[in-house]
């Protein structure tokens, strides 16, 4: 408080001076004292407090809101002023009232000041906003869409700025200007994002929309960013529009594509998926044709893979099968995904699809089983080996055929196959076989099933008693070893065989050829065959002809089924050609067009082609250049040509077929019959040339036509004959029925022509067998005459045992005495070598036939030894000669034939067990041995009823033999 006197500074004044100095407030010394010090003598008036109140009220009344104040500010100020008045509206007014009034006044005054500041601030803010607004004047937008939007926003901001300057209006204006600025920025950014004016134009054009519809695109894609990302991923609006168009027209398509993109993980992902799938058409087809929603499509892609899906859909983009397949797997989809991932199919979708569509015939359940069967990682790893390293992944058709044909659709067998290729050398070999060997399945000249057929047939026929699983292992191991062993040149040669030799179109034929034809896939034999064939271009062409025109292929040159067994060529090669490639080539090249045509007739209509084993044996034996030589000797194709040529007429093939089936040529176990007949039956045994007269087969067929059962009976008789009657079959020696039949055909009566064999031989023998025994057929009592034969086979085999060999010497000298011995009779009647049938004049007496091996010499030796005990030499000047002087006299008892005066008969035996009855005949001179009847023999001695013997003579010889 002041002390009331000038010059006396109170602490208050000191504090005030210090403060004024700091604040820079100008003051003078007169300011240290109140004015009353100068007017202290004036009259008392209003009290100080009243004066002060007046001052306060006056000043308060003078307070006014500056121009530009807002209503609320004015109200607040008025309220503050009212508060001053209210506070001072007291009587008497005291000092405290004045203090409080002054405080309230101060507040009001501050308020005026603050309002002024606020107005100034708002003006400044408005100016700034306006400046910011006009800074945007040249930003009008580049495209109509933007121009429209910006103009609207500009108008809004302009209007906001035109409003009275208030906090609220400023805020609104600021917001409007900021909105305008943001809009401009957004438009500019959008324009940049959309590729500038050109880019926008392209978008509108591509999607056939106007600017107003751009938002719809955003909506379709979920956002502008999503749309832009999509456009960026696709490389431009046109590309994106075309893509979207696959999913539907206009915005519908865009939305569908966008939804799917989102489900798949974005535009890049959908593009990648479409590409993997083989095109957007296929991806879109999942929706349009498959009626899958985006999530279902995404699930399908995740589970089955886009590439596999695309392949499954094929060129028609049909999703049905792949959708069905997914359903079939259901919760077991991991079986599929594991196989895809672990077996290398993820990069080989074509192979997997082929495995399903072709290998499993499109059967989802079968495919599911296949996938499930490879349950162990090691199994899938093995499969991966042949898929990747082995090249099967790049050979889808070959893989499919391998499974369906080679494995019979059995997953376990496929597993066995894969496991067999257990090292890289085998897998590399497989790859080479597919690639260089042409087995991939993409060469039009080579069917995709070649590899599968090789796997199936590489080891020939399954041995009896071996399980399918074990045989599969055998085959797989064999094929793996073969693949490993074949070199690049070998594969080239194989490909030549397949392409030029026509075998590529006939996988089964080829596979059997390299299978059983080559010793069950023997590496060396396969290499040799392929090398030889590949080196002979003409031979390969003829081989192709043999397949397509000769009936050795399963389809002919018109691609019609031949019905022939695919093993025919293999058997023709081995054993037919003894596995010698040059023999096969020789045969193929020997055949002319007519020959092939005839051969085809016999193979197809004649059904020889249904009997590959017969073919092999037939060619091996029947076409020997030397039919009396070894079975693996050189062949003469002409024999085959002659044979089939005889059946080339209209009825020939059917006749051949009837003969083959009716005569039992085609019976199991009788595969050698035709070979035996062709080799032996038509080959002269005792005259040159000893070549097969193959044309005679037709005559034989003609002879028995309509009665082939009789030919069968005939051949069965030969085959059933005991060894002493006919030579038995042996390994590689199919002697019967050929040799027996040959004996008949080359009998005197037929002279190699079997045209009348049935009528003139079989029928009489059959009649004889059927005739009842009567009269003298009771036989001779000592030794007992055998009863007549009642089985025509006995008659047939016996008749067939005569070889009709000429007798060397009609009369021979036997014993030391040199008796004349009628060998013509003895051998002609009792030896099968000759069969001269010196018939007995006494019909009650049968005859005996030696073992087939007994010769003239054997008989002579036997007789000579038998008469040795009577070997007494006649003494005299001319021993043994009664016609040359001096004559000797007959002696009694007779010592030798010179002493006989009549006929004489005795039993003659030797130390070897040969016992016969011999008869001496004295015809007025020297006695001769003219009778001979074997009674016993160390070897089998056949007793034959005389009438049987006569009958046999009649059917074999043209003339009745003289009776003895």
């Amino acid at each position: 408080m002041g002390n009331g006197k000038k010059g006396d500074f109170s602490d208050d004044i000191k504090w005030g001076i210090e403060l004024a100095d700091h604040l820079g407030v100008p003051y003078g010394t007169d300011d240290y004292w109140p004015d009353e010090f100068e007017d202290e003598d004036e009259d008392d008036g209003p009290t100080l407090e009243e004066q002060q109140r007046e001052s306060i009220l006056r000043r308060t009344s003078a307070l006014a809101a500056p121009e530009g104040a807002e209503l609320q500010e004015i109200k607040d100020l008025e309220g503050a002023k009212d508060a001053v008045h209210d506070r001072l509206d007291v009587d008497p007014v005291g000092g405290d009232d004045i203090v409080q009034g002054e405080i309230l006044y101060q507040r009001a005054e501050d308020m005026v000041r603050d309002i002024g500041l606020a107005i100034s601030d708002r003006a400044e803010e408005h100016r700034q906003i306006d400046m910011d607004f006009h800074a945007l004047d040249d930003k009008k937008g580049e495209i109509k869409l933007h121009q429209t939007k910006i103009a609207a926003a500009r108008l809004k901001a302009d209007e906001a700025l035109k409003q009275p300057i208030t906090t609220s209006h400023n805020a609104t204006a600021r917001q409007a200007v900021e909105a305008l600025e943001k809009l401009i920025d957004a438009c500019e950014q959008e324009l940049r994002d959309l590729g500038g004016k050109d880019g926008v134009g392209q978008i509108f054009s591509a999607f056939n929309i106007t600017g107003d519809e751009l938002a719809q695109l955003d909506q379709a894609f979920g956002s502008r960013k999503a749309f832009l990302d999509a456009m960026k991923a696709f490389g431009g609006p046109h590309e994106l529009a075309v893509f979207c168009g696959k999913f539907g027209q206009g915005m519908k398509g865009a939305k569908a594509a966008a939804d799917l993109a989102n489900a798949l993980g974005g535009p890049g992902k959908i593009q990648e998926t479409a590409k993997s799938m083989g095109g957007v058409d296929k991806l879109a087809a999942l929706q349009t044709k498959g009626a899958l929603d985006p999530s279902q499509i995404a699930k399908l892609c995740t589970e089955m893979g886009p590439a596999f899906i695309g392949e499954m859909m094929g060129a028609s983009s049909d999703p049905t099968s792949v959708i069905d397949l997914q359903k079939e797997f259901g919760a077991k989809i991991t079986d599929f995904t594991d196989l895809v991932k672990d077996a290398g199919f993820d990069a080989k979708p074509k192979a997997l699809v082929a495995l399903f569509e072709q290998g499993c015939k499109g059967k989802a359940d079968e495919f599911k089983k296949l996938c499930a069967s490879f349950s162990k990682p090691a199994e899938r790893e093995a499969l991966k080996g042949v898929i990747e390293k082995g090249g099967l992944g790049d050979s889808p058709n070959a893989l499919a055929a391998l499974f369906s044909d080679g494995c019979g659709g059995d997953p376990e067998t496929l597993k066995t196959f894969a496991l067999a290729f257990d090292d890289d050398t085998k897998r590399d070999g497989l790859n080479q076989l597919l690639d260089k060997g042409g087995l991939k399945g993409d060469d039009p000249a080579i069917a995709p099933g070649v590899l599968g057929a090789m796997f199936k047939n590489i080891s020939g026929d399954k041995p009896s008693g071996e399980s399918d699983a074990d045989f599969a292992k055998t085959r797989a191991s064999k094929l793996a070893d073969l693949a490993k062993g074949l070199g690049a040149d070998d594969c080239d040669n194989l490909k030549s065989m397949l392409v030029k030799g026509g075998l590529g179109a006939d996988p089964e034929v080829f596979s059997h050829l390299v299978g059983m034809g080559c010793g069950n896939g023997d590496l060396g034999k396969v290499q040799g065959l392929a090398k030889a064939l590949a080196a002979d271009a003409t031979g390969l062409e003829r081989l192709d002809d043999l397949l397509k025109k000769g009936g050795f292929g399963t389809k002919d040159d018109a691609k019609a089924d031949t019905g022939t067994d695919p093993k025919c060529l293999a058997h023709l090669f081995n054993p037919g050609c003894d596995g010698k490639p040059d023999e096969l080539l020789k045969l193929t090249k020997a055949l002319g067009d007519a020959d092939r045509k005839a051969l085809k007739g016999v193979m197809t209509t004649g059904e020889l082609g249904k009997n590959p084993k017969i073919i092999g044996k037939m060619y091996q034996h029947g076409c020997l250049d030397d039919p009396t030589g070894k079975h693996d000797g050189k062949k003469t194709p002409q024999v085959l040509i002659d044979m089939v040529g005889e059946f080339a007429d209209k009825d020939g093939p059917a006749l051949f077929k009837n003969m083959m089936s009716g005569s039992g040529f085609t019976e199991d176990g009788k595969e050698d019959r035709l070979a035996s007949v062709l080799r032996h039956a038509f080959t002269p045994k005792h005259s040159a040339p000893k070549k097969q007269s193959a044309k005679s087969l037709r005559k034989l067929a003609n002879s028995f036509n309509g009665h082939f059962g009789d030919l069968k009976t005939t051949m069965e008789a030969m085959e059933a004959a005991p060894d002493h009657i006919l030579e038995r079959n042996d390994t590689n020696e199919p002697n019967q029925p050929g040799k027996g039949l040959g004996n008949l055909i080359h009998a005197d009566k037929y002279k190699g022509d079997p045209s009348n064999l049935r009528a003139q031989l079989f029928v009489p023998l059959k009649t004889r067998a059927s005739a009842p025994a009567a009269g003298t057929e009771a036989g001779w009592s000592s030794p007992p005459s055998p009863p007549k034969m009642t089985d025509v086979k006995d008659l047939l085999m016996t008749a067939a045992s005569f070889e009709h060999r000429p007798i060397t010497n009609a009369t021979v000298q036997v014993g030391a005495q040199n008796y004349d011995f009628d060998m013509d009779h003895a051998a002609g009647r009792h030896s099968r070598k000759h069969g001269k049938f010196h018939l007995n004049s006494a019909p009650h007496m049968g005859t005996t036939l030696f073992h087939r091996d007994v010769t003239e010499d054997d008989i002579k030796d036997s007789v000579s030894k038998g008469i040795a005990p009577a070997n007494i030499t006649r003494q005299g000047p001319n021993p043994g000669n009664r016609t040359v002087a001096p004559f000797v006299q007959r002696r009694t008892p007779p010592i030798d034939q010179h002493d006989f005066t009549g006929n004489f008969m005795r039993t003659n035996g030797d130390d070897n067990g040969e016992v016969s009855r011999i008869g001496f005949l004295n015809d007025g001179g020297t006695a001769k041995i003219t009778q001979y009847y074997p009674i016993a023999s160390a070897r089998a001695l056949q007793h034959v009823n005389n009438n049987d013997f006569i009958t046999m003579n009649n059917v074999l010889n043209t003339a009745q033999k003289p009776l003895y």
Partner: protein, 159 residues
């Protein structure tokens, strides 16, 4: 001292709405809203206290008959602090209004302003003069603003 967990008073909410343009949901506190507690209200409360103290002193000076005090009062005492107070207030408003990554940037700027304010409080010669005025008018500018700065700094550091 304000309590962050306490609901804002209607006056505080009106203040925020009017001067800061901040609209809070009913019944919510800064903490409940999951945001950093607001710094501006703290500062405004302290500033108002100080303003009232200065106004009281200024009013008292007006009652004094000596022209010296009239001149001092007319010159205005609020100007001593208003510039510095506004600077900090602006920084705090930015801080309260920021979110996300910008929050941290705003906090750093506000801390700088806070430090400047502390320097001002420490170095300004007028403030202690006002506080020891001979009229027994209570003036606690440094204490009041210093306490508010302490609270504000804690908020800023927690941002």
């Amino acid at each position: 001292m304000a309590d962050d967990s306490a609901p804002l008073t209607s006056e505080q909410r009106a203040f925020l709405t009017k001067y800061l343009g901040v609209s809070l949901p009913d019944g919510g506190t800064a903490a409940e809203m999951g945001k950093a507690p607001a710094a501006v209200p703290i500062w405004m409360e302290a500033r108002e206290d100080v303003g009232n103290q200065i106004s009281a002193l200024q009013s008292h000076l007006k009652t004094r008959p000596e022209p010296l005090f009239q001149k001092i009062a007319d010159a205005g005492l609020h100007g001593v602090t208003s510039g510095q107070l506004s600077k900090l207030q602006a920084a705090l408003m930015d801080f309260d209004g920021a979110s996300g990554a910008a929050k941290q940037d705003a906090a750093e700027l506000a801390q700088t302003a806070s430090e400047a304010m502390r320097t001002f409080l420490k170095d300004n010669l007028v403030l202690p003069l006002l506080e020891r005025n001979p009229f027994n008018v209570t003036v606690t500018i440094r204490a009041t603003l210093g306490a508010a700065l302490d609270r504000i700094d804690r908020i800023l550091m927690g941002a």
